[in-house]
């Protein structure tokens, strides 16, 4: 299976991108050089900045100090660079404190400015309507979205594997009921369902509860695909002679299930899970985008895109739409990878 996957060039590319994204998510706080939640009324809607690498013929990365002006006619805020003040940008700078992997307290970030606070000087991708650094928010938001996908898939996996396996192994009335339930769930348009469920989340709930509820909601439908897939595999495995051979040795159902059946399905499970992940991520993004999923102060790709809902604003401040790019890339990469995995798992499907 590994050999067939590696032959799939696009899938390998997708896989590398996925790994890169998850690495970024693991080190999100390290990569986010500014505190993603810190408001700054003086730095609203700053456009993306250029980092100059050379200063007087010497390698010395720096940005210029921002000067805020208001256009007297249009009353639109303008930012210009004060070329006289260079603010050096340095690697491994000290910034806001955080815990790496939630364990080790530190305040080192990959870059930062020296002399002036990073929060008010460095805006690689600009800032949002509340003056928060978009790059940092993007990194942290990506982490949220990616983990929601992962947790959602885990929930789907547990549900799907158990129900699918039971359905396929025992057949009969159990199978009939589970299949009908799946059929019904699949007939419901997912979005209204999600909207309805998400609208039911009380606005007073904490960010964490909302996070887990949203995860539950997006996996509510996700498990059906996995259960169907697994049921089909288990059913066809039941007719394999090696399963009968094991039964004739006196092996009990549990052994048959775990020694002979589930391992034969792992590649399918992995492939289906990989293909389910991007659906989960885009579902969360869509919900939050509509304002029914995660809400500020939580940060996710959908929450960030929510700020880009107004097309006139986007036209004026195009950098607000930048969260669309990582969303598209991660979803695409997952699909490519999942596709390759599925082909590799079952070259005859």
């Amino acid at each position: 299976m590994r050999r067939r996957f590696v032959k799939h060039r696009l899938a390998v590319c997708g896989g590398l991108v996925v790994v890169a994204f998850y690495l970024a998510a693991a080190f999100a706080d390290f990569l986010a050089y500014s505190d993603p939640g810190k408001l700054d009324a003086q730095r609203i809607l700053v456009p993306p900045q250029r980092v100059s690498l050379w200063s007087a013929g010497r390698f010395s990365p720096h940005v210029y100090r921002l000067v805020r002006t208001r256009n007297p006619e249009t009353l639109v805020l303008d930012y210009s660079a004060d070329r006289s003040v260079e603010i050096p940008v340095v690697l491994f700078a000290h910034g806001y404190p955080y815990r790496l992997f939630g364990l080790f307290p530190t305040d080192i970030h990959w870059i930062g400015t020296r002399g002036e606070p990073t929060e008010s000087s460095l805006f690689l991708l600009g800032s949002d309507a509340l003056g928060r650094d978009l790059f940092s928010r993007l990194v942290v938001g990506t982490r949220t979205s990616l983990t929601i996908g992962l947790v959602g898939v885990c929930i789907s996996l547990v549900l799907g594997v158990i129900l699918g396996a039971v359905s396929g192994f025992y057949g009969g009335i159990v199978d009939l009921v589970i299949q009908r339930v799946i059929e019904m769930l699949r007939a419901i348009p997912t979005l209204p369902l999600w909207l309805g469920l998400a609208a039911a989340i009380p606005p007073t709930w904490s960010v964490t509860s909302v996070y887990f509820t949203i995860t539950l909601i997006v996996s509510f439908v996700g498990w059906t695909e996995l259960a169907r897939e697994l049921r089909g595999r288990i059913m066809s495995l039941r007719h394999e002679d090696f399963v009968l051979a094991a039964e004739l040795c006196g092996a009990r159902p549990r052994r048959i299930m775990f020694v002979h059946m589930i391992p034969a399905c792992t590649s399918h499970i992995i492939a289906t899970a990989t293909l389910a992940l991007p659906t989960m991520i885009s579902s969360e993004t869509a919900l939050s985008f509509l304002g029914l999923g995660l809400r500020s102060p939580a940060i996710s790709l959908g929450v960030l895109l929510n700020g880009a809902q107004n097309i006139q604003a986007v036209a004026l401040y195009p950098w607000l739409i930048s969260p669309a790019l990582p969303t598209a890339v991660i979803v695409l990469a997952f699909n490519l990878m999942g596709d390759g995995l599925r082909d590799a798992a079952d070259p005859y499907a």
């Binding site: 009968l244 094991a246 006196g250």
Partner: protein, 337 residues
Amino acid sequence: MPADVILRVRGLTKHFGVARDGEAASADILRAVDDVSFSVRRAKTLALVGESGCGKTTAVRCIVRAMPPTSGNVWFRTTAGGVVDLAALNEAGLRPLRAEIQMVFQDPYSSLNPRLSVLDIIAEPLVVSGVRNRTVIRDRVANLLELVGLRPDHMARYPNAFSGGERQRIGIARALALHPRLVIADEAVSALDVSVRAQILNLLLELQDRYHISYLLVSHDLGIVKHISDQVGVMYVGQMVESADCQAIYRRPLHPYTAALLAAVPIPDPRRRRAAYAAPGEAASPRNPPPGCTFHPRCQHAIPRCKLERPQWAELEPGRFVRCHRAHELQLRGIEA
């Protein structure tokens, strides 16, 4: 049950309900196996012969209880000497007997789990029966591999490293792991190349001579059957139509279907081309078998009685059972050796 009989099947019947909602209207029943009786003797081979759909595979699957029979008895003589009815036991009651009846399958590819090494495959019966000591298991597997003509140092390999014939040997080794008294071989060589078939057939014969195992063989190939069996039972549309000693059945069949089968077997000798007589038409469907004798629409010798009355399973001569109204009067041709 005579002392040398190890397995006696009486009136074995398996019906599949085709009806979906449980109400079994009579026409919705598929009579896969219908009142089949035979005995397998110790260290001897009984072959069930028949064309596809005749119920031979279903019959053996009922005997090993891969599915429950609808009715009938399957008496088995255990190592301890007692006789139990396998058809009446539940899963827990069967488990201790599993070691004594093993099976060799037709498809050398689907019968071995591709994800387990040969060691794990052959060791599975041992592990399930409670052997835990790795060295004991390895030694036993090495012995078994040698026994079936494979190199013991290949036990760490996976099935895909072996050819069809070698896989079949692995399957035989697995079946032998718990010293079974009865081995059921379902078309065990028909998926193999001609040049490999002979190796496996000879291996089965050798093992029988050495360990006094009884075989219940299922095959559609009358050539293979002649090489390995002591007794033959011929099945047609779920019923046993004739059973007898191997030599006798080939030389002088008593049932017209047996005769038709023998006449249809191509003989590998261009000098013995035969005026092709084959029974016309094709086997009836077990879903809707003809009334009376199921073979009558294809039978040259059918009389009006055959259409109306179902013939009884009767012992015409000592050891020769047949299900035909006219068996006593017909002179049918067999094959001269």
